[in-house]
Symmetry: C2
Subunit: 448 residues, 2 copies
């Protein structure tokens, strides 16, 4: 399936280059078979000119569904080229839920155009969701619900169920007159109960509604543990404002994984393959700048030993090995601890046994690699003392890496900074500086 | 919720240290309120002795459910201490589905003990699932199905639905006499149809069953696009062998994310906070060894310029900056391309426009940081030529990083190697070597 898109991209760009060839009917037909998500991926894979050309070919009534699926930068690149009238007719087809999703990464002027297209009720809907922030599940509450008044009977439920049931639904919700959530009834229950029984008697007391303020991540954990494929979302006043489904959970997990992967490289999750050069460059420059500061720290550490380096140039040659071994060993401990923090497994209670274990592992690998690298270096530079210096530095740096690997993420977590994003930069700064200072310091003591 | 586990770990270890204190009743009560998953996290967060102690306290009828939730190393650490009789009674409670999950990372001798506890039918069940490998959805097919013969009527469906319906079910499946899958009927349909209508008339023709050989990753994509919360799984002969649910999809996504994060640091997904030191050390040593080879490559590149370094020691001091800027810029391109490959967006067709764009971004940041770093270096070492040398090297290395960032993942992907796992190591080797050779080479030409 996914390879298909690459092939289509190739065909489109080929047709485009060779202007004599008219777009073949076979290609047009293949494009018609793609769903909104695949078309969105295709558009994101095309350079700007070809992207706009293809966009124009998409029937107007399919465009809004594709718009929702597009990545942030791809979407913006298209919207910026449309006329005001075209924007108006495109946005007129958006539901409030779709507009909320777009609003996470669309400038306000576009949102305003869309809001002006909506009726009173839809606008209220949007405003209501918009009061929650981008990490709260209430913002993304889906409004396709089966709802009945709390005094409804089994036959009311059966009548409701005979009509169209929204996708991903295995329960209905009861509310009081004001719209406050009062309970959840499995759709299975009314089937095996007499018609006059009040639904309130069939309520599943185990179901706890999701508070609208719950974070996206926590909401996935909660729905995964529930016995249903959907959960009611309620606001602070207890009003039933919508639902979250297992399918929403899948989407949240995917997006958070994607955002994390991009953020680890200092990229925005909106970035696409053909984001504008200037915007990409400036975003990436920030991350390069942060990393430059840490690189200067490492240089400064080396600079302390200029005199030594001048006398023993072998030290300069071997420096990357000391830094690299420390960085790798440290990131292994770091990864393990970050996972432990995310799972809530780490506390003051097991910190010391954990550090002891990581130091033991570091001790084993420190001795192993100190011996191996020391021997190679001694042979390379025909000087046993060089072997002693680099071996000791490697052992010390791997132990320091174990300590940093445990404490860097814990300290970041205490400071409310996500260790998965910045842990690695800080850790390698520590192992670089410790590695260079130990290595060149020992070199100064033992070789000069 | 997750912080709770950390607090409990602390309390357990405190009680344990201070032997006069008996385990408080409050603690025992808190432990009773944890579900199997939380207890598994708790056990994984305890050092071995305390882990075994807590395991003994868990009622025998809850142990097997917890066993399934444990991480690979944690599980093994407990099983290894149990007597044969204890293993037998523990395994006697496992379902074939649970045993399949355990078998992914449990030595055969344990599986054999468990199989001997099962009856003929359960064993067949296990063997049937076991014919699929660890990346095929058929292996994990869940057998809680609503199934009816293909000639069943609406009233048969209603009768079935009045009994207990398995969790995560919004459709029933029809099979022929031999057990071959013939169709899917939404549970909603029989509710609004007369009793004598054959279910075959209500089948949803859109539903395509999942082939048992489909990879776990693809199966998640497929169920996410389907209109149901479950899909039938069929083998090559068309036999209905089980189902996959959206909840399975969530679990697969979580586990693959976890495994990827661990693998990127050269860790096993089975590794837990207190895995045995020797085993951890040896696993991690492999990854350190691979990285050592790449570090030696960088050292070798530096070694080519020993004479230069001896004369201009400033070059040794500034080396980490050249390597670091190249590595960071390269990993930004790499991350973008890896995502593009995963989404199927990259092909021969858009390769050149993509490279052009990445080179433009690299050109922008190359010029920006060449200027900034060149100026700082010139000032630091009071030598404008040093600024020229490092500035040029940075610009060249950032451009080389863009090229490597595009091609390294594409080549790995062609070689069927996951670029998300090894791309970063290879990329930084390239940027290290190119950076050092350019920087020291230019230094040799311009400074001596």
């Amino acid at each position: 399936m996914s390879e298909e898109i690459g092939v289509l991209v190739e065909q489109i760009l080929k047709v485009d280059k060779d202007e004599n060839t008219a777009p073949s009917e076979a290609l047009a037909e293949q494009l018609e078979h793609l769903d909104a998500e695949q078309l969105a991926l295709l558009l994101g894979a095309l350079p700007l000119d070809e992207r706009l050309e293809q966009w124009e070919r998409i029937p107007a009534d399919e465009q809004s569904a594709i718009l929702v699926e597009l990545g942030g930068d791809t979407r913006l690149s298209i919207l910026r080229t449309l006329s005001f009238a075209a924007l108006e007719s495109l946005f007129a087809k958006l539901t409030p839920e779709e507009l909320i999703e777009l609003s996470d990464d669309l400038p306000d002027e576009f949102i305003d155009i869309a809001l002006r297209q909506m009726d009173q009720k839809q606008r209220q809907h949007f405003e209501h969701s918009n009061q929650f922030n981008e990490d709260q599940i209430g913002r993304y509450a889906d409004h396709s619900l089966l709802v009945l008044p709390q005094n409804a009977k089994v036959y009311d439920a059966l009548r409701l169920m005979r009509r169209d049931i929204p996708e991903c639904t295995d329960a209905l919700f009861l509310t009081d007159r004001a719209g406050r959530y009062t309970g959840t009834v499995s759709l299975h229950k009314p089937l095996s109960s007499p018609g006059h029984i009040p639904l309130a008697e069939l309520m599943d007391e185990q179901v706890k509604p999701l508070a609208a303020e719950v974070s996206l991540e926590d909401s996935v954990d909660i729905i995964e543990k529930s016995d249903y494929v959907l959960l009611p979302i309620v606001d602070q006043k207890g009003m039933l404002i919508g639902r979250m489904t297992l399918k929403d959970g899948l989407q949240i997990l995917r997006e958070s994984h994607d955002a994390e992967m991009m953020a680890q490289a200092g990229l925005s999750e909106d970035e696409d393959l053909f984001s504008p050069v200037l915007r990409s460059s400036m975003r990436r420059a920030t991350w390069l700048g942060i990393n430059l500061l840490t690189a200067f720290l490492a240089s400064w550490a080396i600079g302390l030993f200029e005199a030594t380096l001048q006398q023993v140039v072998a030290l300069a040659v071997l420096m990357p090995i000391v830094a690299s071994m420390g960085g790798i060993a440290g990131s292994q401990t770091l990864t393990l601890i970050i996972r432990g923090i995310a799972l809530g497994q780490i506390s003051k209670g097991n910190l010391w046994p954990l550090l002891r274990k990581e130091l033991s592992v570091g001790g084993f690998n420190g001795v192993l690699w100190a011996g191996a690298i020391g021997a190679i270096a001694a042979w390379w530079f025909s000087d046993p003392m060089i072997g002693v210096v680099i071996g000791s530095a490697i052992a010390i740096n791997i132990l320091a890496a174990a300590i940093a690997g445990v404490f860097v993420p814990l300290i970041l977590d205490k400071m409310k900074i996500d260790p998965a994003l910045s842990g690695s930069v800080i850790l390698t700064t520590v192992t670089d500086v410790v590695g260079f200072v130990t290595f060149l310091g020992l070199g100064t003591l033992l070789l000069i």
